[in-house]
């Protein structure tokens, strides 16, 4: 089978799985996860096959695998859509396929497949646990998720969206994949739809990303109207790029290329949760953990960064846009990190960490280091998915403890945990690897290599970005150490933590596999100038991905970024560990600062500035005043007027003329006539005879006179 055909086929198995599950397998849990896993495995197999073939092609960037078909007829040409696998898409396929497959496998165990159904479990709420009899003893065990099949259907649809986005060769199908994922994000965040917080979170996510998507669509429309094409290779032709760069626009003095880049970037601001559209991501933690891992760590938010890397040739034409991008990225990196240090929920820390890390990638892109950003994208996908899945395993272990001890505590609060390294060893070691990768622990973790490359690229040319990212890296290491210490080290702080249990193999196997990548993936991107080991292995990643845009200068080696990254990583880890070693409860936590805990009050500001006025406009202004008052008032007035006219006409014309004169009058006349003539029929024979006598006299007289006159 040709590679192009394979590429076309990659997004299809999960779509097919979605349809089959929805139509046929909704009641059968085993069948639905088989179908979903089958779809994921097929896509993974095709993606890996394409990846391997792509590796074998010399100069993939100049001759990518590409195939397109005519789709929408426009005047005398067609809008063509198709697939394109150049080096960027190849590595995109790699990390997307692996993370999606791992998360699908994990979901089987996460939703407690094989466990009994809980007595009080209702569809739409998280399962509470089932009571079983064992040895005459009643035990509470975790129960299976009631909406199991629905979950697998939705994540299959999501996988379809992501694969479509990665392989597409034009902005239109990329946007289609983008929106499909947005929909699935909404459906999956609100998966437990009976929880009001989950419902609201789903709506918030969709609305916020929608704001970004509107601008992105404007950008797409602008591109199409300016160039007549939406395919990447069409837009990135040197001639086209030059034209776009030279046409000025009235907004901010940007060239057309800059404005398009900015508009498309705003889409990423929404989708990848950059400031100011980041507010949806922490609330999105209401969804089940595999959702958090897949959508909000590894793939969907990465799609925003992926798209920016894709349009990098366009974006890089205007230095002002690049500055905006770099600023937003760096600011978000620091912003997210400052909030993460004050969060107590294990998933919230990771959510803000994701926001921060995405800020890293965006900042790198703004500084022009797109290979570094792509590298960090791939490594981040793996170790963030690992961390989220690990946190899900921790939460499951804690919930097991909660069921055992029958005390109601928040299973996600890190201050209820502690000492879990003994109870959940596999989770501990894999989470540790992920955490160290996130912090950038030197040499043995992938995060180190990618973060180091970003720092190295921003040093020198963009010092403000460099300093911000360095501080954010310190905070990252700090809150990671805080998280690790509070969760796994020390002693259990509650009974539930003391009774925690390791998770099933379907949950721990993906953790192990992902941790292999979290460790080893960095070694494909060792810079050549690295002291000691640099140059032993060629910087394959840089060559492979860098070739997408032609020659790219390798950053000049400098000691300072390397030293900085070592210092902040190790220093942050050490300080975090030491600060939280002996902390027993939140009162001893020095960082429970209200501003940080409350996320810099951004949600409250938005609520006061944007939401309340919007609700007021809708409820009061438009509904009460305009709709009910004006429009309905006008209609009521109109109605009353018409009724008055009708009444008047009735009084003036209808009643006196029609009713009285014609109606009653006619009957009066007829009755009168009858009354007058009736006595003629008196029934008295003598009267009849008089009448006939008169008639005879008259007729005789008439006959006589008439006959005489002739």
């Amino acid at each position: 089978m040709t590679t192009e055909t394979l590429i076309w086929l990659i997004p299809l198995p999960p779509l097919l799985a979605f349809s089959l599950i929805i139509l046929f397998a909704n009641r059968n849990k085993a069948l639905s996860h088989m179908i979903a896993l089958g779809g994921a495995v097929l896509s993974w197999a095709f993606a890996m096959l394409v990846f391997v073939r792509a590796l074998g092609v010399h100069e993939l960037a100049k001759e990518p695998f590409a195939s397109a078909i005519n789709w929408i007829p426009t005047a005398d040409t067609w809008l063509r859509v198709g697939v394109l696998v150049d080096p960027l898409a190849a590595i995109g396929l790699f990390f997307v396929a692996w993370t999606i497959l791992m998360i699908f496998v994990y979901s089987v165990g996460y939703h407690n497949f094989g466990q009994p159904a809980g007595e009080h479990d209702t569809p739409g709420l998280p399962p509470h646990g089932a009571t079983i009899e064992r040895d005459g003893h009643k035990h509470k065990v975790p129960s299976v998720e009631p909406l199991y099949s629905r979950f697998f259907a939705f994540i299959s649809l999501f996988a379809f969206g992501m694969f479509t986005l990665v392989v597409s060769d034009n902005l239109l199908t990329l946007f289609v994949g983008w929106e499909v994922m947005g929909l699935c994000s909404y459906l999956l965040i609100g998966f437990w739809y009976a929880k009001p917080s989950a419902r609201d979170a789903g709506v918030k996510a969709f609305m916020t990303t929608r704001v970004g998507d509107v601008f992105m669509l404007l950008g797409i429309a602008f591109v199409y109207s300016a160039t007549g094409t939406l395919s990447f290779r069409g837009i990135f032709e040197p001639r086209v790029l030059q034209t776009l760069a030279s046409v000025p626009t009235p907004i901010l003095g940007l060239s057309a290329a800059g404005l398009i880049g900015l508009l498309l970037f705003i889409g990423t601001v929404g989708k990848s949760a950059q400031f100011p559209l980041h507010v949806w991501l922490p609330d999105a933690m209401e969804g089940p953990t595999p959702v958090s891992a897949m959508i909000h760590a590894a793939t969907m938010v990465s799609a925003g960064v992926f798209m920016v890397i894709r349009i990098f040739p366009l974006l890089s034409l205007d230095p002002r846009t690049m500055t905006i991008v770099a600023f937003v990225g760096a600011f978000t990196a620091l912003f997210g990190a400052t909030i993460a240090v004050a969060q107590n929920d294990i998933k919230r820390v990771l959510a803000y960490s994701t926001i921060s890390q995405l800020g890293y990638m965006i900042a790198a892109l703004g500084a022009g280091a797109y290979v570094a950003a792509a590298f960090h994208l791939v490594t981040h996908a793996f170790f963030k998915a690992l961390l989220f899945l690990g946190s899900g395993s921790v939460i499951h272990g804690m919930e097991h403890g909660v069921l055992h001890t029958a005390k109601h505590i928040d299973a996600q609060d890190m201050f209820s945990m502690g000492g879990l390294r003994r109870k959940m060893p596999i989770t501990f070691w894999t989470f540790l690897i992920g955490g160290l990768a996130l912090s950038g622990f030197p040499l043995v973790t992938a995060g180190f290599w990618s973060k180091d490359e970003i720092l190295a690229s921003t040093y020198g040319g963009h010092m403000a970005v460099f300093v911000t990212l360095a501080i954010a890296a310190f905070l990252t290491a700090f809150y990671t150490a805080r998280q690790l210490t509070l969760t796994f080290l020390g002693e259990p702080r509650t009974d539930a933590a003391a009774h925690a249990q390791e998770s099933v193999w379907s949950m721990t196997l993906p953790l192990v596999i992902l941790s292999v990548f979290a460790v080893g993936l960095g070694w494909v991107g060792i810079p050549e100038h690295f002291p000691g080991i640099g140059g032993i292995v060629p910087n394959w990643f840089h060559q492979f991905v860098g070739s997408t845009l032609g020659e790219l200068r390798q950053a000049e080696f400098s000691w300072i970024p390397l030293i900085t990254s070592l210092v902040v990583a190790l220093g942050g880890l050490l300080v975090g560990w030491m600060a939280y070693r002996n902390v027993r409860s939140t009162t001893q936590d020095p960082l429970q600062i209200p501003v940080l805990k409350n996320k810099w009050y951004v949600d409250e500001i938005y609520s006061a500035l944007l939401i309340k006025p919007c609700v007021w406009i809708a409820e009061t202004l438009v509904y009460q005043i305009m709709d009910k008052g004006l429009i309905d008032g006008f209609l009521h007035l109109f109605g009353k007027g018409t009724a008055a006219i009708g009444g008047g006409l009735r009084t003036i014309i209808d009643k006196p003329v029609i009713n009285a004169f014609f109606g009653d009058g006619t009957s009066w006349v007829v009755q009168g006539t009858g009354r007058t003539l009736r006595p003629m029929q008196s029934g008295r024979i003598q009267q009849y005879m008089v009448a006939s006598l008169l008639a005879i006299i008259v007729l005789a007289g008439l006959a006589y006179f008439l006959s005489v006159s002739f």
């Binding site: 009736r678 029929q681 008196s682 029934g683 008295r684 024979i685 003598q686 005879m689 008089v690």
Partner: protein, 102 residues
């Protein structure tokens, strides 16, 4: 011979009296009396025209005989009706028998 017109005037006068009686008498039997008078007046008329016309033609006399017979039969029937009505209505005043109306 006396002029025909004397017989005719007599007949007319008798007829008028009879008609007057029919139209103005209350009692039904009296109305029948008036009817008889009218019929007899007609008979006088018929016989007069026969006598003063062609005597040989018997049609005039035959007509008069038939009129007698019919008058008698009719009176019989009329009286029977009056008796029947009296039995029902206990009245012989023609003006009270006004059921045949609207």
């Amino acid at each position: 011979m006396i002029p025909l017109s004397w017989y005719l005037i007599l007949s007319a006068g008798l007829f008028s009296v009879g008609l007057f009686g029919v139209l103005s008498r209350r009692n039904a039997i009296a109305i029948l009396l008036g009817v008889e008078l009218m019929l007899n007046a007609v008979n006088i008329n018929l016989v007069a025209f026969w006598r003063y016309g062609s005597v040989a033609d018997m049609a005039g006399q035959v007509f008069a005989i038939i009129v007698f017979a019919v008058a008698a039969a009719e009176v019989a029937v009329g009286l029977a009706l009056v008796i029947s009505v009296y039995r029902q209505r206990r009245t012989v005043i023609a003006g009270d028998l006004d059921m045949m109306k609207w």
